[in-house]
């Protein structure tokens, strides 16, 4: 395929494809958007409060208290979905919470459930992508992970470093300084510098804001970059300050306002996360993290012909697809395998079916023979009985005949004796 030089042409009139963005816009608005956000941090750092503040809803309220109110024995991963609508655009927001992270005495491998969860979401997406019927592809991949750092003022804890090192290749990690109203402005500056230094030192790749051609945007992006990691304060309670109603936290010495850029970086986070970079986060998840996962998974499958995808949660770098077979050939191979498997299954099933049929026939025959036999036996029984009865009757007839004969004899005798007597009487007279 040669790359032909594409000539640029100027149009003479208005054609109308400038309305393409509008069409895209209308279609996406109809379809709606999805966004999945994960929050990770020790308990008590204000994660639930921040989520409530970001989206101005009470995701965790009194009726459904967040996981913060009880310390868990093991790390869990909980998902909550909420559908928000604004200006005709609807957003299906999924918040993934991780209660129990970093709370136990021994926190080794507390990141494992989280890594497993992220991988399982990638796997779901991969499976739904490889299906034959792809009409609905729900995207539940984690688009962004907000990591909350405790405001110690010194630096990152070993747990923070470990976690970020393991997750920066799987998801967009955005570190935040939680409960930033603990720090004075100088402490905050120093803390941020220290954290960024440590992040560089350990080669952690946090989410990078993309460079654009627009000068104006670049300046904004640079301003955000200077303030990383963002120091946030969350609150949903409204307080009156100078006859203005603001969201904030009321202290005896003053009110820390959430939306005041001087007090904390909450507005920057909100703008970045929702208003400007949400789409970019999704793109990076799709193009970088998901592709990493996919190439690693598929390469592992075809390398040995055996599914050796046990290497989860390990620190690997991006695998180059050029090393393995081209994806198309891989798919062909897979398809062939699949087809042969199907054929084998079919044959097996036929065999099984035949065997079953034979068995059934045999059984039927058997039962028929059995019936026949019984029939014969019964007949014989009957005949035997019949004969017996005949025999009895004969015997009985014989007896009767005998008896009759006997009777006649007796009779004769009697008659004879009577005549004799008569004769005797007669004779005596003579």
């Amino acid at each position: 395929m040669d790359l032909q030089k594409v000539a640029q042409k100027n149009l003479e009139g208005y054609v109308g494809f400038a309305s393409l963005p509008n069409q895209v816009y209308r279609k996406s608005v109809k379809r709606g958007f999805e966004f999945t956000l994960m929050v990770v941090g020790e308990s008590g750092l204000g994660k639930s409060t921040l989520i409530n503040s970001l989206f101005l809803t009470d995701l965790y309220s009194a009726e459904y208290p967040g996981p913060s109110h009880r310390i868990k024995k093991t790390v869990q991963v909980e998902q909550s979905k909420v559908l928000v609508k604004e200006g005709g655009v609807q957003l299906l927001l999924t918040i993934v919470d991780t209660p129990g992270f970093g709370d136990a005495v021994d926190n080794s491998n507390c990141w494992q459930p989280i890594i497993d969860h992220i991988d399982s979401k990638f796997e779901d997406y991969l499976n739904s992508e490889s299906r034959v019927n792809r009409r609905q592809m729900p995207d539940s991949r984690i688009h962004c992970c907000l990591y909350f750092i405790a405001p110690s003022g010194h630096g990152l804890k070993p747990l923070d470093i470990e976690f970020m090192k393991r997750l920066h290749e799987k998801v967009n990690v955005i570190p935040l300084i939680a409960k930033a109203d603990t720090l004075t402005p100088e402490e905050c500056q120093q803390f941020k510098k220290q954290i960024m230094r440590e992040i560089l030192e350990h080669k952690i790749k946090i989410y990078e804001f993309p460079e654009t051609d627009d000068e104006e945007e670049n300046r904004l992006v640079k301003k955000i970059k200077d303030k990383l990691p963002l120091a946030v304060v969350g609150s949903n309670t409204i307080i009156e300050v100078n006859s203005k109603r603001v969201r904030g936290r009321q202290y005896p010495w003053g009110v820390a306002e959430v939306e005041n850029g001087d007090h904390c970086d909450f507005t920057i986070l909100r703008d970045m996360l929702i208003r400007t970079h949400m789409q970019d986060l999704k793109d990076v998840t799709n193009n970088v993290h998901y592709e990493n996962y996919r190439s690693r998974k598929l390469a592992a499958v075809t390398y040995n012909g055996v599914d050796n995808n046990r290497a989860k949660g390990q620190l690997c770098t991006k695998v180059d697809t050029v090393d393995g077979m081209s994806p198309l050939a891989q798919m062909e191979e897979e398809r062939r395998e699949h087809v042969s498997k199907m054929k084998k299954m079919e044959m097996e099933m036929e065999q099984v079916f035949e065997m079953k049929v034979k068995e059934k026939v045999q059984k039927l025959k058997d039962s028929e023979a059995e019936l026949q036999r019984r029939h014969e036996q019964m007949k014989r029984n009957l005949e035997a009985q019949h004969k017996e009865l005949e025999e009895k009757r004969r015997v009985f007839e014989e007896e009767r005949a005998n008896w009759e004969a006997h009777q006649r004899q007796e009779q004769q005798k009697l008659e004879a004796s009577r005549t004799l007597e008569k004769n005797k009487k007669k004779g005596k007279i003579f």
Binding site: I71, V105, P151, S152, H154, E162, Y251, P252, V255
Partner: protein, 357 residues
């Protein structure tokens, strides 16, 4: 010299001191307080305080604030960046401080690395070992045949445990640690960096902590069972209602209403450390220094140390002429009381015994 003369002052009420005018019934026994005070001033006091908590909770700052000078380990060994040590270390720094003629040897024992690792199993063991080692050293000195007039007291009198201000409940690590250590040392739990919590959150958190402490049977200072009389009980009950203290530390001064006070300045206000409307640092300081310091030392000496001693001596049993009656030691100045221990020099027979609880 004049002291001994005063001590042998005879009893008859007629020989009253002229200084009290026409007070015939005055004997002068209360003058012993003055003598004790003078002696104490000459000898000075010792106080050993241990601070335990995760890194970044403001422990060193609070120490500096408590004693109004740089007494933490960071003042002694300045390091530009804080590195979390791989294992728990015990760093002990001593200072001699003086106020109005009263001298005190203050030792601050810091425990960097506690609770900072990923796996914090048994992170309390080095600390327990340290505390028991101090008791052991004191015991060795005590049962020596030729012992010093005044045994240097390096026992940990008080352990301040810093609870991170999560606002929800105690973490398993906190419960484990306090449960084990409340048996060997006086624990004073404090909520660190309390400027994170609003007043309602603070009250809720304290309530939760108190309930959890009760549920787990953790006896923090002031312990209920060591209240000596009704008066003590009233005072201590008031304190027990406020435990744990929500503290904020600072060693920087700011100008507020024309006064220079210690505080933290943020964009939305200045937190005054000594203002009880802002935080409870003043109560903690009063408890530790102004009102209950002696009581803390007493309890350490008479109860925790004695428990250790009884256990220890029972372990190597049968080597003493008599098991002495356990008498409480006052003021941490053992030289005043006659030795109740009749043990001979059996120091050589004490091998390394296990210190685990």
């Amino acid at each position: 010299m004049s002291e001994s003369a005063k001590v042998h002052h005879p009893g008859p009420p007629v020989k009253a001191e002229k200084t009290h005018g026409s007070d015939f019934s005055y004997v002068g026994i209360d003058a012993i307080l003055e003598q004790m005070r003078r002696k104490a001033m000459k000898q000075g006091f010792e106080f050993n305080i241990m601070i335990v908590g995760q890194s970044g909770l403001g422990k060193s700052t609070l120490m500096n604030t408590l004693f109004k000078s740089k007494v933490s380990r960071k003042s002694v060994q300045p390091s530009p960046e804080e590195r979390i040590p791989k294992t728990i270390e015990i760093k002990s720094v001593s200072h001699d401080v003086e106020e109005k003629g009263v001298r005190m040897k203050l030792t601050v024992i810091d425990t960097p690395g506690f609770g900072d690792q990923i796996n914090n199993e048994n992170c309390w063991q080095p600390i327990m070992k340290f505390i028991n080692d101090q008791y052991e050293a004191y015991l060795q000195e005590e049962i020596n045949i030729n012992r010093k007039k005044r045994i240097p007291d390096s026992r940990v009198h008080c352990c301040i445990y810093f609870i991170p201000p999560t606002g929800h409940c105690l973490r398993p690590l906190d419960v484990e640690f306090m449960r084990r250590l409340s048996k060997v040392v006086n624990i004073v739990p404090v909520i660190a960096k309390a400027d994170t919590l609003t007043l309602e959150e603070r009250d809720d958190f304290k309530q939760t902590i108190r309930e959890e402490l009760r549920a787990n049977g953790i006896d923090v200072y002031p312990q209920k069972e060591f209240d000596e009389d009704a008066e003590d009980r009233i005072i201590n009950d008031k304190i027990r209602e406020m435990i744990p203290f929500a503290v904020v530390g600072s060693d920087q001064e700011y100008q507020v209403n024309g006064k220079r006070i210690l505080g933290r300045k943020t964009k939305w206000g200045t937190i005054e450390v000594e203002n009880i409307a802002h935080c409870e640092f003043a109560y903690l300081r009063d408890l530790l220094i102004r009102t209950h310091m002696q009581n803390i030392k007493d309890i350490t000496g008479s109860i925790h140390y004695e428990t250790y001693r009884v256990r220890r001596l029972n372990e190597s049993n049968g080597h003493f002429t008599s098991l002495p009656a356990v008498e409480p030691k006052t003021n941490g100045l053992p030289a005043e009381q006659p030795a109740a221990l009749q043990a001979n020099g059996v120091a050589a027979q004490h091998g390394a015994l296990s210190h685990e609880m």
